[in-house]
């Protein structure tokens, strides 16, 4: 269900149930008001909604000026049950390729990229969480993202 997925995103990034509900309300109102911005050539609707939720949650997180208190969370995968088989394969391929490429990255780089994306952390928060100097973290992310792009191989 889309709302549970979106709420999961808001909750993980905000780490605050009340805030997550507020953020999700804003997300739906935003979508309601500007559905016209969706570019079908670039993303699926669910990806578009996820991106709006993630950005809104990150905005809230940055604005709330709290120290990084995001709980670690075990990755979990939810299967899409109702997709046509060929789309499932294509989707699984994209996912497998991304996860494979993240695994190929140097130790730390992949973890940093995952944490940045999933928890919405800044450079400073990432450096803090992974206990490395800020400059090191910047170089990890930049080099990691560069390698990731090469590995995925779509330009």
């Amino acid at each position: 269900m889309t709302s549970a997925k979106l709420f999961g995103i808001c909750l993980r990034i905000s780490a605050d149930r009340d805030a997550a509900e507020d953020i999700l309300q804003e997300v739906y109102i935003k979508v309601w008001n500007r559905a016209g911005r969706f570019d079908s050539g670039r993303a699926s609707p669910i990806t578009w909604l996820c991106a709006i939720a993630r950005n809104a949650a990150i905005d809230w997180r940055r604005a709330s000026l709290r120290p990084g208190t995001v709980p670690e969370e075990a990755a979990s995968t939810v299967a899409d049950s109702a997709l046509p088989a060929d789309r499932v394969i294509e989707r699984d391929q994209m996912r497998a390729r991304l996860l494979y490429c993240i695994d190929q990255l140097q130790r730390g780089h992949g973890d940093a990229i995952r944490a940045a994306f999933l928890d919405g952390l800044t450079y400073a928060e990432l450096a803090d969480r992974m206990a490395v100097p800020l400059g090191t973290m910047k170089s990890w992310i930049r080099r990691g993202m560069q390698r990731l792009k090469e590995c995925i191989g779509d330009g």
């Binding site: 709420f7 999961g8 997550a20 969706f38 079908s40 578009w48 996820c50 969370e73 997709l83």
Partner: protein, 238 residues
């Protein structure tokens, strides 16, 4: 911080950082300024990264929000502009649509939006949910966007890359029974509006498919298509 034009490496770095969201405050603003001033930058570069990273959304564990969520949204929408009852009703229908959209999302055809058509004046009272579809076929084939407004019974269409010739594009709605019903010929490569016959309006809903075939102009609307669709897509309510 960054010289313009940016080196390819610096551009790639800033784009990756923005897509990932690791920059904050002034750093983020500076990155945006540098990219905006860079002639080789396009927003598509950031969108490419968003697409590459999109499978990571699977890693988020879904958590059901409280039931009060929808009431909260309805209240906020009501506060803004819509009549109370209407907004609630619309929201309920729309929420059902959003759930289904989530399930069907990865299917190529489905799309959430079509820019609202400014042709009709604002409707008094609540608007019914709008049905939309994006029809696609081959990679370089036609793309047809459709937006159906139940209040007016009109279908707004935007067609591109349709190759007209002896044959003209004809639009079909295919409800779950699988039998195509013609909605009539449509304009190739331009925006157009098509009134939908009353008996066909009920088909313009979630789960039905819209399809375009190339047909002889004679005798349209036809009883059945004579060829395979050049573009098709599922309808979604928003």
């Amino acid at each position: 911080m960054a010289e313009v034009p940016l080196s390819a490496e610096e551009r790639d770095g800033l784009v990756a950082e923005l897509a990932l969201g690791v920059l904050d405050g002034e750093e983020r603003a500076a990155a945006l300024r540098a990219l905006m001033a860079d002639p080789a930058f396009t927003p598509g570069l950031i969108e490419d990264w968003q697409r590459r990273l999109a499978p990571l959304y699977d890693e988020y564990t879904p958590v059901a929000p409280a039931d009060t969520l929808w009431a909260g949204i309805a209240a906020r929408i009501d506060d803004a502009d819509a009549p109370r009852e209407g907004a609630l009703r619309q929201l309920r229908i729309w929420r059902a649509g959003a759930m289904i959209a989530g399930v069907a999302a990865a299917s190529l055809a489905l799309v959430l939006l079509f820019r609202p058509v400014p042709s009709s004046p604002p409707l008094p009272g609540p608007a019914a949910p709008v049905a939309i579809a994006q029809m696609t076929g081959a990679v370089d084939g036609p793309v047809v966007l459709a937006r159906f407004d139940p209040a007016s019974g009109r279908l707004s269409l935007r067609a591109s890359a349709v190759k007209p010739g002896a044959l003209a594009p004809e639009l079909w709605v295919i409800p779950p029974d699988g039998k195509p019903r013609s909605l009539g010929l449509i304009a190739a490569n331009t925006d157009s509006q098509l009134p939908v016959e009353a008996r066909l309006r009920a088909f313009m809903t979630e789960g039905a498919t819209l399809a375009v075939t190339m047909e002889p102009v004679d005798g349209a609307p036809h009883a059945a298509p004579s060829s395979a669709p050049v573009a098709s897509g599922k309808i979604s309510l928003i």
